[in-house]
């Protein structure tokens, strides 16, 4: 049953370096979001980017609600790619929810990973007592509603890709043109898996060194969250960026690249 992982996750490989750098996109998008950053690393790294099952040009038939309603299911995508390509010493670069997916993967199979670069990470989006995640439950429910409204005109709303026989490439093509994320049901499940997740307990289990890239004024991952992560991730470095918003790799690629390079340089020296 091991479908070809490379095709399933639309894995793309480029670059002329040896050490693998694995780019994992966040919720609401696909690997395209890395196109402003990847060229800067192609010379020194072997670049691997992919779409999670359900996103971009991945194989929608491989989508499984049980598996992907949990971030561990997404972490399995990452680990299966590592296994399939026999990767080692990976620099994992994850945006947003992919940061926690990377954390889960690195706890399960630390041997694959050399470093984790976490862009706009948050271990828990919902406020909980002393902890400030930034959102209340009802905010997330309203987000799901906003998503539903933006998918309202879609013909396939009633014909979800979860039905295994819904093999209609022309549809998915049309969808990727209007949104990075493909099927509305999948997007909704990914949103719920993302924003209702709580991985605070997992942070202490990580042994892989990490860089936290924290944007100033990021509504999705506020400063307090970055501090929390830094305090709980062993061997982590926290950089607060000049960049605002939640997507510095798209809005401020130069600063993102510069900070990544500085961190990696430091790591090779003091490794």
């Amino acid at each position: 049953m091991n479908k070809n992982v490379i095709q399933r996750n639309n894995v793309k490989i480029s670059g002329s370096g040896k050490q693998p750098m694995l780019f994992a996109h966040g919720f609401g998008c696909d690997q395209n979001m890395w196109r402003f950053v990847i060229p800067a690393f192609e010379k020194s790294y072997r670049i691997i980017s992919f779409d999670y099952v359900g996103a971009g040009k991945s194989d929608l038939r491989a989508y499984n609600s049980e598996r992907y309603s949990n971030l561990n299911g997404y972490a399995q995508d990452v680990l299966e790619i590592c296994r399939e390509l026999e990767l080692a010493d990976v620099v994992f670069v994850g945006h947003s929810v992919s940061s926690m997916i990377g954390v889960l993967a690195a706890i399960k199979e630390p041997r694959y990973f050399a470093d984790l670069i976490l862009i706009g990470p948050s271990p828990c989006y919902i406020n909980d007592g002393e902890y400030t995640g930034g959102f209340e439950r009802k905010d997330i429910e309203e987000l799901l509603d906003t998503m539903d409204r933006n998918y309202i005109g879609w013909a396939n709303f009633l014909a979800p890709a979860i039905m295994k026989n819904a093999d209609r490439p022309e549809l998915s093509q049309e969808l990727t043109q209007s949104f990075c994320s493909t099927d509305p049901r999948i997007a909704r499940e990914f949103a719920a898996a993302t924003f209702f997740s709580d991985n605070r307990q997992d942070l202490l289990k990580v042994t892989t060194p990490s860089l936290i890239l924290q944007c100033s004024e990021d509504i999705i991952a506020p400063l307090a969250v970055g501090d929390f992560l830094h305090a709980h991730l062993k061997n982590s470095e926290l950089k607060v960026m000049k960049a605002t918003g939640h997507c510095p790799h798209m809005s401020h690629p130069e600063e993102t690249i510069e900070l990544m390079k500085a961190y990696l340089r430091e790591r090779t020296i003091h490794g």
Binding site: N64, Q177, K205
Partner: protein
């Protein structure tokens, strides 16, 4: 022209790549209850509700940046009096002089929103009903196939159990008798008859081989009877490792001071106490047998809790539950990793001259299987060996054991 746009019957806002507002028309300012100086040079997010800010960051902005435009996007604006304005947005990304700017046209959709809400609710209901229906149908057919499969498994298991039972009987009774006799008569000749030195030696070999055969049959019997053990309780792994160490020391006649065990925090696991004790008995026994004579043996046991899929043999099923992953490491002689699967087979030894019977690791594997767990091994020759055992933390009615 600017004046026309300023008063046009639609909202208009221009912001930079960084999301900074450059201009907002009077109509939109009016809806929001703001003045031009309130928003100039502010982030465009400030006019959005919190959920819409998420959507802006995860969908709207990436779309604009990557596709150059976004059409008919639904968002909610927030007024100064904390009311929300549902709107549709069309946006385009344009290069003007040096900078990239995003132009957005905004239309309120108060009336349409109510209508959409009804459609959405109807759609959700229909979708849910269809999903449930589909799900039920799938479940029904899966259940049927699984029942048949289960029946086949059950039959096979039943006949296997019958054979095992007989086999176990043969080992524990029928085979013991001839072994006993071989030893008995060999002893008798050795003690009572005068034989040549060569015959004496041969007889000693017969005796030793019979003794080995006896131990092997006992080990085999233990291996088979492991399945008969049932009953799960909460097991404190630390306690059973210490108990296992006590037993190993007694059998191997080693003192506890000959090696060190460091046990870190290990979560409580539901399991069979006897089997798990036996598991750690053999792990420890293995570590002692293959210790490096040039240094003191140090055994380190630690664990991490993580969520793993409880289904191992149903490829399309996922249920992530808490598991304890236990690392049992020694600084022994290690072994070549090409043997990593081989060592878990019953009665297999890497080299015939290795001490022991080759039962322990086979037993360990079986116990781990009985607990719906997974065992793997990492070893470096000359440095040591780490056994990695992943066990479900809880066995409830909904889980497998």
């Amino acid at each position: 022209m600017d004046r026309l746009l300023d008063n046009a019957p639609c909202g208009y806002v221009i912001f930079t790549d960084e999301g900074i507002i450059q201009w907002m028309n009077g109509t939109l300012l009016g809806w929001l209850g703001l003045r031009s100086e309130d928003v100039f040079n502010k982030h465009v997010e400030v006019i959005l509700t919190l959920p819409s800010r998420i959507f802006y960051n995860t969908h709207f902005f990436p779309l604009l940046k990557l596709q150059g435009k976004a059409e008919e996007i639904f968002l909610q604006l927030k007024t100064t009096s904390n009311e929300t304005v549902p709107v549709l947005v069309n946006a385009e990304r344009r290069q003007e002089s040096e900078a990239w700017l995003h132009h957005c046209v905004i239309l309120p959709v108060h009336q349409r929103q109510k209508y959409e809400e009804e459609i959405l609710n109807a759609k959700r209901l229909a979708e849910k009903a269809m999903q449930e229906n589909l799900h039920l149908q799938e479940l029904k057919s899966t259940l049927e196939t699984k029942s048949l499969e289960l029946e086949r498994h059950y039959r096979k298991q039943f006949s296997q159990n019958q054979s095992l039972l007989q086999f176990s009987k043969i080992i524990s009774h029928d085979l013991q008798e001839p072994i006993h006799k071989i030893q008995l008569f060999a002893d008798r000749i050795l003690t009572k008859e005068t034989v040549s030195a060569r015959t004496h030696n041969d007889l000693l070999k017969v005796d030793r081989s019979a003794e080995r055969l006896r131990q092997l049959t006992r080990a085999l019997q233990q291996y088979i009877s492991i399945d008969a053990e049932t009953g799960m309780t909460d097991v404190n792994i630390r306690d059973i490792i210490l108990e296992a160490a006590r037993q190993v020391n007694e059998v191997r006649k080693v003192s506890g001071s000959e090696y060190n065990i460091v046990i870190e925090d290990i979560p409580v696991v539901t399991g069979n106490m006897t089997q798990l004790t036996l598991l750690f008995y053999h792990l420890l026994d293995n570590a002692i047998q293959f210790r490096d004579p040039s240094r003191k043996l140090v055994v380190n046991v630690k664990a991490v809790t993580l969520d793993e899929n409880i289904y191992h043999h149903s490829p399309e099923r996922y249920k992530f539950t808490e598991h304890a992953r236990i690392f049992f490491s020694d600084n022994g002689i290690g072994f070549d990793m090409q043997y990593r699967d081989y060592i878990f087979k019953i009665l297999k030894k890497i080299s015939a001259s290795d001490p022991g019977l080759g039962v322990g690791l086979g037993l360990i594997k079986k116990i781990v299987d009985n607990h719906s767990g997974v065992i793997t091994v990492d070893s470096v020759v000359g440095q040591g060996t780490t056994f990695i055992i992943t066990l479900p933390k809880h066995h409830t009615q909904n889980s497998l054991v």
